[in-house]
């Protein structure tokens, strides 16, 4: 689980670092001290700075250059003139997107999937972790853990294929079961309303065990004396869970919740795209798949970038917002 640190306000040091490179040393006496600290650090640790270069170059080229590249959302991108030479278009592509009826469908589908996934996917790993934590060490516990997070390692392509096989109308084991009790076979992948459930519950199947490990790790950090004291005082197992376990993992729960809410519009492209077919497109078309189809396949680079930028910005704002709220209310936050 990612943790974001900014203990000493890195932005301020950045200003000093950035400017000092431009100015001659003698011209700015106030900055000299910062500059000399930097210079001393460079001289002393030059080897360490050197070995960081490949990765830093990677982040610049593949993360920060594309960030600058979002400006094509505000330009009429033209392959010949390139990112920097294409004429400005202002907010044309954003207006085009917001004015398009597909905008509301995409927003509803994307948010619907996220909220559904959040409501179902958030409590289940906690339940699993608490249950695993209660039972004594032994074969059963080990086996359950081993099996529970194995699906995490299955690839998206294989996950979706398994889903299609299991729910296939002709051979799928689910439909064989339905036929055995006298029902007609159902083509689950052809029903738009079934798509969200298929998507979310297969995600629960695949990721709950993995997420539970995080909570188990947090539960291991709970002071055992608390349990002993509670036991001596006659607390039942349920009471111990409610009054010791859950408060003990509260900070981790809040952080995971923040991250989940912050990703509300970032429904993964990979799985939804693979699960799409012409029949369920009404509920399975999400922002990410739309960007791919309209932006890349149809080569509407500017429009696609505008849609993608809208997505990224909303996510970032949500993350900051939720983080602030969590800081106020639960006293826990990412930064």
């Amino acid at each position: 689980m990612p943790r974001i640190e900014s203990d000493t306000g890195p932005l301020y040091t950045s200003a000093a670092l950035g400017q000092s490179g431009v100015r001659p040393r003698s011209a700015a006496p106030k900055r000299t001290s910062q500059w000399s600290i930097a210079l001393k650090s460079f001289r002393r640790y030059w080897q360490l700075y050197l070995i960081m270069l490949p990765a830093l170059l990677y982040f610049v080229v593949f993360k920060y250059v594309p960030m600058a590249g979002v400006m094509i959302a505000f330009r009429d991108y033209n392959v010949i003139k390139g990112i920097w030479g294409s004429p400005w278009a202002g907010f044309k592509y954003f207006q085009l997107f917001f004015g398009n009826p597909v905008f509301w469908t995409l927003l509803r589908n994307t948010m619907g999937l996220s909220v559904y996934a959040l409501i179902v996917g958030f409590p289940i790993p906690i339940l699993l972790a608490v249950a695993l934590n209660e039972i004594p060490l032994g074969f059963f516990k080990g086996a359950t853990q081993l099996v529970a997070y194995a699906p995490y390692f299955i690839s998206t392509v294989i996950m979706v294929s398994m889903l299609m096989l299991v729910f296939s109308p002709r051979l799928g084991v689910v439909n064989l079961g339905l036929q055995a009790i006298g029902s007609q076979p159902i083509n689950f992948f052809g029903i738009p309303d079934a798509f969200p459930s298929l998507y979310v519950w297969s995600g629960v199947w695949q990721y709950s065990g993995y997420s539970a490990v995080v909570y188990l790790a947090a539960l291991a950090g709970v002071d055992p004396q608390l349990y002993e004291a509670a036991k001596v005082d006659g607390a039942s197992r349920i009471q111990r869970i409610l009054n010791i376990d859950l408060p003990g993992i509260m900070p981790v729960m809040v952080i995971i919740l923040i991250l989940n809410v912050g990703n509300l519009l970032a429904v993964g492209f990979e799985k939804a795209f693979l699960m799409q077919n012409p029949l369920n497109l009404g509920t399975s078309e999400i922002i990410a798949t739309y960007v791919y189809k309209v932006g890349l396949l149809n080569a509407n680079y500017s429009f696609g970038t505008a849609v993608g930028l809208f997505n990224s910005v909303v996510n970032m704002v949500l993350l900051v917002l939720v983080n602030t709220v969590a800081k106020r209310i639960a006293d826990t936050s990412l930064w």
Partner: protein
Amino acid sequence: MIKQNTLRRPMHIRESFSDRVFLFFLYSFLAIVLLVILYPLVYIVSSSFSDPLAVSSGRVWLYPVNFSLRGYQVTFQNPQIITGYINSLYYTFFGTLISVTFTVLVAYPLSRRNLYGRNLIMFLITFTMIFSGGLIPTYLVVKQLGMIDTRWALLTPQAVAAFQVIIARTFFQTTIPDELAEASELDGCSDLRFLWYVVLPLSTPIIAVLALMYAVGQWNAYFDALLYLKSSSLQPLQLVLRNILILNTTASGSMDAKTMAERMQLADLLKYCLIVVGSLPVLIIYPFVQRYFVKEMLIGSIKG
């Protein structure tokens, strides 16, 4: 590894009746979870070892019916799948090598407290997890670099993950004290020598975890290949699997099936076999690295 509180609890206090009932429910809950997770896996594996006819007539639901290896024979006769397998091994090996090297080389310096600018660099790396340029700008960068339809397109655009850098840095910070580096510096040991002879030997657990996560990521990825690759000779296994399993492109050329019906039966069976073959490498190494994997989660999730 995860939790030993149950052992430390005094055992002389007897469980009350309601607690034992509750424990029974917990066991039942976990048993159900176990079955729900296990069943689809068992079903797929059993089907893959069954007779083509049994599979396509829907007679397999738990154990293999009329045990047969016909499906696997067909699978390994398919040239697309063989090429995909070799490509995937290539991408996984070199991709992991590049990723782990870059990650360690950037994470270790960032763990040194006296390094000037370390907070700024850390912030800039972390920021890439919160905001990204998006699909199309990234695609245009890759295109501009001339990587479209080359192996580089799968090895570089995802080479370093900010999350793994954070985890590796936290590991170095907590396991390798700065005093150790200072002491060896006094003895005339350069930072690079220190990294090679002291830090790396002490860091095998984190390197194993990084390698595992990157390798699994590479092995399982299909999207970058879909975006950047056109030649079928470069395609990784996952993309081949997608074409056969999800788009239902039958790999007919390699099959010598006599009748149409048999061909269809084989196509059904082939899917189950492909699923097993496609996840086999990951599932084989997974139990061995599992303990490291749990360790990573501990490093990543517990503060300090």
